[in-house]
Point group: C2
Chain length 88, copies 2
């Protein structure tokens, strides 16, 4: 069965986010002074073929820990859906 | 009132995603051959001060179109929540 895994990787709250700061400053320069605290993160969509949703989820966590996420400075969350449902 | 806007920016399906391809290949090299179609995107969290949720949403769309999203190759979606609720 095909599953669609959606992964969101964000910096831990205690970690400085220079990219977010730059965007905040750019927005202020453009006149959006009511905007603050821009935090940037990564978004990933992955197709996983697995026998069950549980197996796919387990593998997705494994992939995150081994490759996609730096646990020292980042946290992640993921959602998983059957591929057909995700396409709707 | 403070609102927390969550923005997900993804490449349009027709646009090549070299970063995603690299991650897919890395995963295959690591033995995860059941994984395919990795697509990378950006994730942003923005705090917006506005009089109403509707005003915050309108401004968030404006910011996306003017700064955060390249409409030629990217699409975006956003969700908006009162800041207190988002913190829970």
């Amino acid at each position: 069965m095909d599953f669609k895994v959606t992964i969101v990787v964000t910096l831990k709250p205690s970690v400085l986010d220079p990219q977010g700061t730059t965007v905040t400053e750019a927005l202020h320069h453009m006149g959006y002074n009511n905007v603050s605290d821009v935090r940037m993160g990564k978004f990933m969509e992955v197709s996983v073929q697995a026998s069950s949703e549980k197996a796919a989820e387990q593998q997705a966590h494994e992939i995150c820990k081994k490759l996609l996420v730096n646990p020292v400075i980042e946290t992640y969350r993921l959602t998983i859906k059957p591929a057909q449902e995700a396409a709707v």
